[in-house]
Amino acid sequence: MMGVPLAWYLILAAALFCVGLYGVLSRRNAIATVMGVELMLNAVNVNLLAFWRYTEPGGMTGQAFATFVYAVAAAEVAVGLALIVAIYRNRDTVDLDQINLLKW
């Protein structure tokens, strides 16, 4: 397994992050945006685990952080979906172009 160098993991993670980011920025559907966010979080998880495995395999820091990220992602999905449902009930749409409330 050690035949795979660290950089490959990092490239995979970066690619995953970019895919997620693109999804977040380009999708009009709010649910697709949330899915993009999930991808970005998982890219982070890949990074955390890769660094842990390659630089400090004796400790547990990477695993612990990754576990935190899972938990937060799960919670975020729950809240995010709830928000989207609430918006949908209010405005009959989940199209982000039509939801421009975040301004003064």
């Binding site: 977040v24 421009n100 301004k103």
Partner: protein
């Protein structure tokens, strides 16, 4: 501790009780009149006792011993460069006698004031307590001046008395007279204060010069041979005068002011506007004596260059001889034509002080000191007597409206006559005879002109005294007030009796040894030896002979004056409304004398009116024109500048700030339309942009670090 080690402390304490009495009355007891006078008299009595203890302790030491080892203690007070100004007390033979008479006369006058200011307990003056506070402070000044051991302290106490003099002359300041030409107490106080101020400033110059020249003001250090020699050989700013002579002349200026000598005599007669005890105490017995006391004290300095054998006088002595002789004569002539009982005494005071000054001018400083003491007694007596007359006859001061008071006020009359005889120099029995005779004898042997002028002055003195006694006490009353006159109270006449004893008897301590019959009988010219020792070794000794000629002339003149006065006024007493025989006898001279040689008018025309005009002009042009003009100009300028400033503030600063704000408002509004869309994804894009920017920055920095 023996009495002699305690004496300096005791001496230093002498001026303090009246000062505390002043503070107590002013601060706490102002409302209780009887308490106030009790405190004042009690304090004065303590001072009196201490002064007497000091006097009788030193009198036993003998003059020479005391002169060599006077009671003297000093402490440094104000450091001034290399030396320090000191405070201290000094009692030498001269100081001892001054202490003696000052304490007695002050105590008598304090007691007398109780009767006078309350009119025998019937009508208390509204400011009764204040009066006792002032005279207490005054007593502090006089006692302090007497025991001062240096010129600076002397000057301080001198000025305290000047202040008290002002306060007391103007004591009845609310009084106004229907005749606008008659001077009111308020004006008289101001006049006294300002006139003496002229002398005081000159004296202060002398003190400053003395300090510059010698570096010390202590009497003991100034008045010794080496310092005097130093001063005599030092040239002054005025060519032809040594520093000693110039300092002497300047100090004598102080005497001229304080002792009311011509040309600064004008304040003293007007000072009679004050209550009579004040006239007695300040303007006869003590304060005016301070001027002569200072001159006697500084006589070794004043006489530098004096040579008795060649008749050579120093410059200050010439000044003293001329001014003294002239003032003695002038004041005596004016006194002849005065009708106010106190004014007569005021001019006689000027005249008698002038005798002392003249005596100093011819080198007879012991005679001057002797006359100082005897004069204090009989002049205090005369003034208190006149005050008794004034209160007894219901505030009548015009002698033309008195008469016949001998029967109605016998104690006052008899004591007054004793004082009057002493003033005239009635032979043998009175103190005034011995002291005045000593001055005349000294004048006879040194300067004939001085002698004859003083002798004629003595004649006039006897004449106006006799006139005064006859007008006041003999004949029949010339007004209702005089007809209902009565003795006031014991507090008034007891001091009179005490002073009368001194006025008659005090002269016997100064009888010349060579005087026929009495001289050998007493055989001890105590005063002369004692006081003469003060500065004896510093003076060239004249011959101590006895000459009958001046004695006979002075006796003859005194008796002539007395009898002459009686012939004119006593033999046929004036009736009510009858004019003064002097008016006819003197003819055109009478108004001149009556109006005091028009000196006041002269001063008014030459000094006061030009000063007022100058002040008006200065007020008009300098004050209103220049100073106010500058102020108004500054105000206008400031106003204009402020308006300009306001314009700048509103347009430039406020406008600038407003424009700045408006610019950013517009900028922000534009930016909002572009940046703030309300869409999450746009915001995230911005975040991405900045993250990438920061990442790029880090990369660039990292590369530079690698490259550097």
């Amino acid at each position: 501790m023996t009495i002699h080690t305690l004496l300096p402390i005791l001496t230093a304490l002498i001026p303090l009780p009246p000062f505390f009495s002043f503070l107590l009355i002013v601060l706490f007891f102002n409302r209780w009149k009887r308490v106030s006078h009790s405190i004042a008299i009690g304090a004065m009595f303590i001072s009196f006792l201490m002064a007497q203890v000091v006097f009788w302790s030193v009198i036993g030491m003998g003059g020479h011993a005391l002169a060599e080892h006077p009671i003297h203690v000093e402490i440094p007070w104000l450091p001034a460069g290399a030396t320090a100004l000191t405070m201290g007390v000094l009692v030498d033979p001269l100081g001892a006698f001054t202490l003696f008479f000052v304490s007695i006369t002050c105590l008598c006058i304090f007691l007398y004031s109780v009767g006078y200011m309350s009119e025998g307990g019937r009508h208390y003056d509204p400011r009764y307590s204040r009066f006792f506070a002032y005279i207490s402070l005054f007593a502090t000044g006089m006692l302090g001046l007497t025991v001062a051991d240096n010129m600076l302290m002397l000057f301080i106490f001198w000025e305290i008395m000047g202040l008290c003099s002002y306060l007391l002359i103007g004591f009845w300041w609310e009084k106004n007279y229907p005749d606008p030409r008659q001077i009111t107490p308020r004006q008289a106080g101001l006049k006294a204060f300002m006139t003496t101020r002229v002398g005081d400033v000159i004296m202060l110059l002398g003190i400053a010069y003395l300090y510059t020249a010698t570096g010390t003001l202590s009497f003991r250090q100034v008045l010794n041979e080496s310092t005097l020699h130093h001063l005599a050989s030092m040239a002054s700013v005025i060519p032809g005068l040594s520093a000693a002579a110039l300092i002497g002349l300047l100090l004598f200026g102080g005497t001229v002011g304080k002792s009311a000598q011509f040309p600064l005599h004008v304040w003293l007669p007007d000072a009679m506007e004050g209550p009579t005890p004040v006239s007695a105490m300040i303007h006869a017995a003590t304060m005016v004596s301070a001027g002569v006391y200072m001159a006697v004290r500084m006589f070794p300095l004043l006489q530098v260059g004096f040579d008795a054998h060649h008749g050579q006088l120093s410059a200050p002595m010439v000044a003293m001889a001329v001014i003294g002789t002239f003032s003695a004569f002038m004041a005596a002539t004016i006194a002849v034509a005065q009708n106010d009982i106190k004014k007569v005494l005021a001019y006689s005071t000027i005249s008698q002080l002038a005798y002392m000054v003249a005596a100093l001018g011819i080198g007879a400083y012991v005679a001057a000191a002797f006359h100082l003491v005897t004069h204090a007694f009989f002049k205090a007596l005369l003034f208190l007597g006149s005050g008794s007359v004034i209160v007894g006859s219901h505030h009548e001061q015009d002698m033309m409206k008195m008469g016949g008071l001998l029967k109605r006020m016998p104690i006052t009359a008899i004591t007054f006559i004793i004082g009057g005889l002493a003033l005239s120099g009635f032979p043998i029995l009175t103190a005034g005879f011995w002291s005045k005779d000593e001055i005349l004898a000294a004048a006879w042997s040194s300067n004939q002109v001085v002698f004859w002028v003083l002798a004629i002055g003595a004649l006039l003195t006897a004449f106006y005294t006799s006139r005064q006694i006859c007008l006041t006490f003999l004949g029949e009353p010339r007004s209702d007030h005089a007809a209902h006159a009565h003795e006031v109270s014991w507090t008034v006449y007891v001091p009179l009796i005490v002073l009368a004893v001194f006025a008659a008897g005090f002269g016997f301590i100064g009888v010349p040894e060579h005087f026929p019959v009495i001289g050998p009988l007493i055989n001890n010219n105590l005063f002369h030896h004692f006081v003469g020792a003060t500065i004896g070794e510093l003076l060239p000794h004249g011959e101590e002979g006895f000459n009958a000629v001046p004695l006979l002339i002075s006796v003859l003149f005194a008796l002539t004056g007395l009898v002459g006065g009686w012939l004119v006024y006593g033999r046929r007493p004036l009736a009510a409304g009858q004019p003064d025989p002097m008016v006819r006898a003197l003819g055109p001279l009478y108004p001149v004398l009556k109006n005091k040689y028009y000196v006041d008018e002269f001063y008014n025309a030459v000094l006061i009116q030009p000063t007022i005009r100058l002040a008006r002009a200065v007020y008009q042009w300098v004050d209103r024109g220049l100073i106010d003009g500058i102020l108004h100009g500054v105000a206008k300028g400031s106003f204009q500048a402020a308006r300009g400033n306001r314009w700048f503030d509103k347009t430039v600063i406020n406008g600038g700030v407003d424009a700045f704000v408006a610019f950013f408002q517009r900028l922000a509004r534009e930016a909002r339309l572009v940046l703030q869309t309300g869409q999450v994804q746009h915001y995230l894009l911005q975040v991405l942009f900045f993250v990438c920017a920061f990442a790029a920055l880090y990369v660039i920095l990292w590369l530079r670090q690698l490259g550097g």
